[in-house]
């Protein structure tokens, strides 16, 4: 448009450390940070596969490493992060799927979230049971 720049001079604010601005954003950043745990665990498993492929001696090194206090501490942190991931994943899930109708009524977001959590609980128990030696 024609020039009167002194009058029309929009001011742009910087984003800075925007995630500190609102508790909602802080929770979001924690949620996103769970990806570090997922990546770390994928790396641990990859190393395990490599060690397995290298033979029994290498496998034992991997197992020994898992027993180290540092690894245990790491996995405790990974576990916490995974649980946070499970919680937040199903919290956002209702937003990511089309509307679901049961008969005339639309399924509530909280119902979908709770179904997700329940599925995760069942999956966890099933995996633990399988690992503990239970066979269907």
């Amino acid at each position: 448009m024609s020039g009167a720049p002194a009058v029309r001079r929009p001011y742009y604010r910087r984003m800075g450390r925007w995630w500190q601005r609102d508790p909602f954003f802080r929770r979001y950043m924690w949620r996103e940070a769970t990806a570090l745990a997922v990546l770390a665990y994928a790396l641990v498993l990859t190393l395990g596969i490599v060690c397995l492929a290298l033979g029994e001696a290498a496998w034992q090194v991997w197992l020994a490493a898992l027993r180290s206090p540092a690894s245990l501490a790491l996995h405790a942190a990974l576990l916490a992060a995974m649980v946070l991931h499970t919680k937040t994943w199903f919290e956002i899930m209702p937003k990511t799927m089309p509307m679901i109708f049961v008969g005339e009524r639309r399924l509530a977001a909280t119902t979908i979230t709770r179904c997700g959590w329940a599925a995760a609980a069942i999956a966890t128990l099933a995996l633990l049971a399988l690992a503990a030696g239970w066979r269907p």
Partner: protein, 255 residues
């Protein structure tokens, strides 16, 4: 509600981020003390300032009933409509007021919303009928269920609070953003509409739906329960389907 703080509060301080392009190089905070009452909204407090204390304070407002979408601003750091936020919720103060985050400030609490208006033209927010229907044929039949599929997204008042809640828009103003994507989906989801294919290019772009990281705060702050996050992510599903379809039929054959 006989809280002592409430009974004692005869006045309350507003701290307003001011910016007058003809006077200040950058925004500055300015304080005003206004009389407190239980039923006073932030908008009414600002009107008191303008009428009685400082006529140079600028802000948009009109309907006073949360339907025109004019008076969105950051109130104690959260995007809200000034007309339906009450001082009693913000005790003891001071109440910090700032123009909606992520938008350029034009002056004081007034943002430059021209980016949103330009975006409207891109997303084709109007019914593109499957086939022309003469007026004499009367209204389309639309079941209450079909209405429900898009009705929530049609309730958007364009107040832009969702944009102030969206860090992705803040980081990248080219992002189409929650409000426009909800409006786009409102038409895509309408049983009378046949224009989805024409709107997909806007959705499929990086700046279309794919800048969204599902923060979800847009839906939290929406004063009309539009749930833009839900609309945006339904667009993601649609765009992913469109992408796969395009891979399988790359010549752009109509679906």
């Amino acid at each position: 509600m006989p809280e002592p703080a409430r009974a004692a509060a005869r006045s309350i301080t507003l701290e307003v981020l001011r910016y007058r392009p003809e006077i200040e190089a950058a925004p500055v905070w300015q304080s005003y003390v206004v009389p407190f009452s239980e039923d006073l909204s932030v908008l009414q407090a600002l009107q008191h300032v303008k009428d009685e204390l400082d006529g140079s304070l600028s802000f948009r407002w009109s309907c006073r009933m949360a339907i025109c979408g004019s008076c969105g601003m950051m109130i104690d750091g959260r995007p809200r409509l000034a007309c339906q936020t009450f001082l009693r919720e913000l005790l003891p103060g001071p109440v910090r007021l700032e123009a909606l985050a992520h938008w350029p400030i034009q002056r004081d609490l007034v943002i430059d919303a021209s980016g949103f208006i330009a975006g409207l033209e891109r997303i084709k927010p109007y019914l593109i009928p499957r086939q022309p229907r003469p007026l004499a044929a009367g209204e389309y039949r639309q079941s209450p269920h079909e209405l429900e599929l898009f009705e929530p997204y049609s309730a958007c008042i364009n107040c832009l609070l969702c944009y102030a809640a969206c860090p992705q828009f803040g980081l990248d103003p080219g992002f189409t953003g929650p409000g426009l994507l909800a409006l786009l989906h409102r038409y895509n989801a309408d049983s009378r509409d046949g224009g989805r294919a024409q709107r997909m290019a806007a959705v499929n772009a990086e700046h279309g739906v794919w800048s969204c990281t599902a923060v979800g705060y847009c839906s939290e702050v929406c004063p009309k329960a539009v749930d833009p996050a839900h609309a945006v992510n339904q667009n993601k599903v649609n765009s992913a389907i469109d992408y796969l379809r395009h891979l399988l039929a790359p010549r752009g054959a109509p679906p």
